[in-house]
């Protein structure tokens, strides 16, 4: 009997997510950069002003969305590059697991930073 593998996401669906996250990231990063212009650039990077940004809930959500979008897009890009290096199932499954794990770890660590800076956890 032929072994049938369950496909969670088709490659076209993954690539659709890849392109959507790229376009969305362009938008949120543009907003993030434009926020540096509301006051002199050097002042906007001062400790107090950065902390104020984190305390602003909509801005914290914007930072969270940048983190999620860039992590998904970047790690899928890395997976695509690594897929071409070798063509065997162990390698393919290994890099899929590695990139998903790394993506989750980065998002978790970044979210933790945003929550701590926002003082929601306090």
């Amino acid at each position: 009997m032929m072994k049938t593998r369950k496909i969670i996401l088709h490659e076209s669906q993954i690539m659709k997510i890849h392109y959507i996250t790229a376009i969305a990231a362009l938008f949120v990063v543009a907003v993030h950069i434009l926020m540096r212009l509301i006051m002199p650039y050097s002042m906007s990077l001062q400790y107090e002003n950065v902390v104020v940004n984190y305390h602003n809930i909509p801005y914290a959500l914007l930072l969270e969305s940048i983190l999620v979008l860039i992590a998904i897009h970047g790690f899928n890009g890395l997976r695509v590059i690594l897929l071409e290096f070798r063509q065997n199932e162990i390698w393919e499954n290994g890099i899929t697991i590695f990139t998903i794990a790394a993506m989750i770890a980065i998002i978790a660590y970044g979210t933790r930073t945003i929550i701590m800076a926002n003082q929601l956890g306090l």
Partner: protein, 279 residues
């Protein structure tokens, strides 16, 4: 590989600039430098040079056949039709994948013509390469019409499909493919990813997908929608540049991607069936 892509790009740009007044270099003799190696014997790669008399219309294949006939009969070449129909004599000529029978020596620069086997194909001997993997990718695309409404076994039940000119136009250029393997050889993704079907197979997938006589749309999309499938194309475009038949595989790949992404309409109008006995 980067060097080949650069050379292909230069040719592409050069062709655009002076396509109408392309320079012809007339010479009496050229040196044909031929790649020599026998894979089964584990030979080291070497190049043999042969001085060949040429005329204005002499092709690279004719020069090689002259060398094989009069100078060294052991040169390994694969050829058949000598008129760019069979796709047998594909090789790298001065570093670029071309058909030897379709390349005139007078169009090439320099007094030495270097002939090498196609890249991305396993070598058999000298200029002959193994096309097994290439044809396997082609077969995987199921290059035939899927339509359960057409009965091919019973001659009484034979029916014909009617297609409009516009419907034929959608896939016509892709049906000119002669499977010479030049696009496969020029593809930078195939060079690194052996599971990638290559531009030829993917453009054939689009050719049958776009054909209104075929009604197995979903199955066709599933074949190419995998880890090493259509999404691994980097869109270098070298496949379209080297094609001797004017096929644009890169276009076929992008069109098929559009259908997979849902940008292009997936609802295909299936050709009408007409019973021969009634029409």
């Amino acid at each position: 590989m980067k060097e080949i892509i650069k050379k292909i790009g230069m040719i592409k740009n050069g062709n655009r600039k002076d396509d109408n007044n392309r320079k012809e270099i007339l010479r009496n003799n050229v040196v044909v430098k031929v790649f020599r190696a026998n894979r089964s014997k584990g030979d080291f790669v070497s190049y043999d040079s042969f001085e060949v008399p040429v005329q204005r219309w002499t092709t690279v294949l004719e020069a090689l056949l002259y060398a094989k006939s009069y100078l060294d009969s052991s040169i390994g070449i694969r050829y058949s039709c000598r008129m760019a129909s069979c796709g047998s004599c594909g090789m790298k000529i001065n570093g670029i994948p071309r058909l030897a029978c379709y390349t005139k020596i007078s169009e090439l620069e320099g007094s030495t013509i270097t002939c090498e086997p196609l890249a991305n194909f396993p070598l058999i001997r000298d200029l002959v390469t193994d096309f097994s993997q290439f044809f396997n990718h082609h077969k995987k695309m199921q290059p035939y019409i899927h339509n359960e409404n057409s009965v091919m076994t019973d001659s009484k039940k034979l029916i014909e499909f009617k297609q409009s000119v516009e419907e034929v136009d959608k896939y016509l250029q892709f049906s000119y493919c002669i499977k010479c393997g030049l696009c496969y050889s020029a593809c930078p993704t195939v060079a690194t990813d052996t599971k990638f079907p290559g531009p030829q197979a993917l453009s054939q997938a689009y050719r049958y997908y776009a054909d209104t006589r075929d009604n197995d749309t979903k199955e066709r999309l599933n074949i190419v929608d995998e880890k090493h499938g259509i999404w691994r194309c980097h869109f270098a475009g070298s496949c379209s540049t080297v094609c001797p038949k004017g096929v644009d595989p890169a276009l076929g790949i992008q069109l098929l991607r559009g259908h997979l992404m849902g940008f292009s309409k997936n609802e295909k109008k299936i050709a009408k069936l007409h019973n021969r006995s009634t029409s």
